[in-house]
Subunit: 416 residues, 2 copies
């Protein structure tokens, strides 16, 4: 009727799981402006220098720096040659004691090697008086100083932020190749589950895991596909999982992965194809009944029905699974360093502890949230992140720890 699970260490379980994922979603070409939070499929190499010419970074006068040694008490007067309009190549060359007006973004005319800021000048007719000296290269951005032609600008696997789209655009790249978003089927199982809108009756509960997993999949750049709720029925679960494998690149199902009589998920997955269940039982708390499977290269993550276990299952295995499919370079969540406010220790399992972050000056304190029973979703709502404590280890109050953020922490930002 029941069996005891052998608990696999997290690292080993994750490595086994990721190795078994061979599915590729392929690539697609999209306009750069649509590229936010997509993953670059190929290295991008610059085909031009950036900037393409020597440019002024200020409004002022382009000069030969060696000629200017002015100060407020000892102003220098130069001959005015004209203005270099933005977007237009200069028509003249700057010689000794000569200058040309340039704007921010104008090309620097030949001969000149620095720009005296407008604020330190006074023009009268074709003469300009300077009250400050200037160093060679001052207020000038040299050709290729931002990006050199032939250099790798962004590597394959980069998760694209706005500044990345900016540099691609600066190189004139209007179309980029990214990995396709993986489709992820999501199933909840359990006779006790209701959908929102259904009438509550004794001992039933509203399903939360499909909603949570759907949002987590979206955050990681996947496309959630809702398989609904299955009863604790072997045939119904098999039909749903087969539908999921057919429709999508990965499947996440929750409920029934413990060792009770209703633990149908791992049993059914074992009959769906090769290699089937890879790991059942992980040395982590919460989340020990998690099972990891793969059917012909498509990953299946089976988590307990309790939401906190389900969320940790996604954080540890679901996130890495999706990032591998997306070919994203970093497999982990967002980290913050914080100081723990109390002693914590673990038993033979890796322990996850939810924490609230408290910002004090330039210190961030991580305050453990008690109790964090596996059913307590409200503690997850209060938390800003979690820490992960290896088996049989401890941390002492005042030590620094890595916190993985579950809510992007945003405090009042005061400049020092």
């Amino acid at each position: 009727m029941k069996k005891f699970l052998k608990y696999t260490p997290i690292k080993e379980a994750l490595a086994t799981f990721l190795d078994a994922i061979t599915i590729h979603t392929g690539t697609e070409s999209i306009p750069t402006i649509e590229g936010l939070h997509r993953v670059l499929a190929r290295d991008v190499v610059a085909s031009v220098d950036l900037p393409s010419e020597n440019m002024s970074t200020r409004d002022g006068y382009a000069v030969r720096s060696e000629d200017v040694n002015a100060s407020l008490k000892n102003p220098f007067t130069f001959r005015f040659l004209g203005e270099v309009k933005i977007g237009t190549p200069p028509k003249f060359r700057v010689g000794g004691q000569e200058c040309a007006f340039v704007s921010t973004g104008s090309m620097i005319p030949n001969g000149a090697d620095a720009v005296v800021m407008f604020e330190y000048s006074k023009r009268g007719g074709n003469k300009v008086e300077f009250i400050k000296s200037v160093e060679k290269g001052e207020n000038v951005t040299y050709r290729g100083s931002d990006i050199k032609r032939g250099g790798t600008v962004l590597q394959a696997g980069t998760f694209l932020y706005s500044q990345d789209l900016g540099i691609l655009s600066a190189l004139g790249i209007g179309i980029i190749t990214v990995t396709k978003r993986p489709r992820v089927s999501i199933l909840s199982t359990g006779d006790e589950l209701l959908n929102p809108g259904q009438k509550m009756s004794g001992a039933k509960i509203y399903d939360t895991n499909r909603i949570i997993l759907s949002a987590l999949v979206k955050e990681e750049g996947g496309i959630p596909i809702d398989l609904g709720i299955a009863h604790d029925d072997e045939d119904e679960i098999r039909r749903k999982l087969e539908e999921g494998l057919k429709k999508s690149d990965a499947v996440i199902a929750s409920g029934g992965t413990s060792v009770g009589e209703k633990d149908l998920l791992p049993t059914v997955v074992g009959t769906l194809g090769r290699p089937g269940v890879l790991v059942h039982g992980i040395a982590m708390r919460p989340g020990s009944p998690i099972a990891l499977a793969s059917i012909e290269g498509k990953p299946i993550l089976l988590t307990p029905g309790f939401s906190v276990s389900c969320i940790f299952g996604f954080y540890i295995f679901g996130r890495a699974m999706l990032r591998k499919i997306l070919t994203r370079r970093e497999l982990d969540g967002v980290l913050i360093r914080a100081t723990i406010t109390e002693d914590i220790e673990s038993d033979e399992m890796t322990r996850f502890v939810l924490v609230k972050l408290i910002h004090q000056g330039s210190n961030v304190k991580a305050e453990p949230i008690h109790p964090s029973g596996s059913n307590i979703l409200s503690s997850f709502v209060r938390a800003d992140g979690y820490l992960m404590l290896a088996p049989k280890s401890s941390i002492k109050k005042g030590q620094n720890v890595d916190i993985v953020m579950t809510r992007l922490f945003s405090a009042n930002f005061n400049p020092r």
Copy 2:
């Protein structure tokens, strides 16, 4: 021809700008499952207890804890009453030396107050032997222990993450009210600007700011509206800005906010309505030529054309502007604490320094990126975040500083 700007401190400029924003985008009702990264418009109060009954958190046997004082050497034998199926109210009451099988998520029958885990039991016929004692409340989640009926679950202004959608679903809330996404018109100005696909010719550059701003607006939950590129022409800029104000809730325009002859943006905005330009010139570097304006409650952010100044302009003013419109509680970006690797000081302006984060054990080091001239977009691509140094101040190597992340930092996460 030229005027000198008076530089307003950042805090003062931001307060003035936010005060002038009176536009509301209103609210809308959406399915909870669509709520990721939206902002809750109203407090959510629980209309039920969660869980709605006392529930088991384990597979095992529900008992009266006072009756069980067993150990491996001194097992206790109880009478088996039957099984409590998940989703079904129990049909019996547990008395002295009696037990009932419960699964994870089953209701606890009346009389029982604890669950002995399955692993510490052995059943034979209608007898169950226990080899471990149990404390009152062990493996039980009490009615209302997660959320109490009448309590505020989530406050108005909360930016919704997956766990928040989970708790809303657990309460049976299938529809939520969120603030509408603000529409933000984005304009680039400058005769030198090209769109991707257009042929490069001497002294021209590809426009990057519209692409960057569009992505930043999306990241903050706004809907970008592309107004394209305007030439340095007063009438064309006026038409575009008027179009932007008509079509959207806010406008961001870049280029021409310095004090050069082409600084048309603040001039034109001054003619569009009341109150017009609020601040022109901010004591920050990069970004000093930024102008902040408002026309009948709709904010207008005018940034220099240089991308790094434009991005900082968005981070400091654009983000707060959108979060105010969205009624989001926190106005700042994501913070991480790190240790600076070199001395840094500022002049009379607030100084922004881009940094690369380096993770070493539980320490995060922030390494300043040099040079960070205002034209250097590649430094932004290399950076993980920035620090903000108040005017006339300094930080010493080894001090802790707040870093605002520009790329969500994700290192290899090793449990301690």
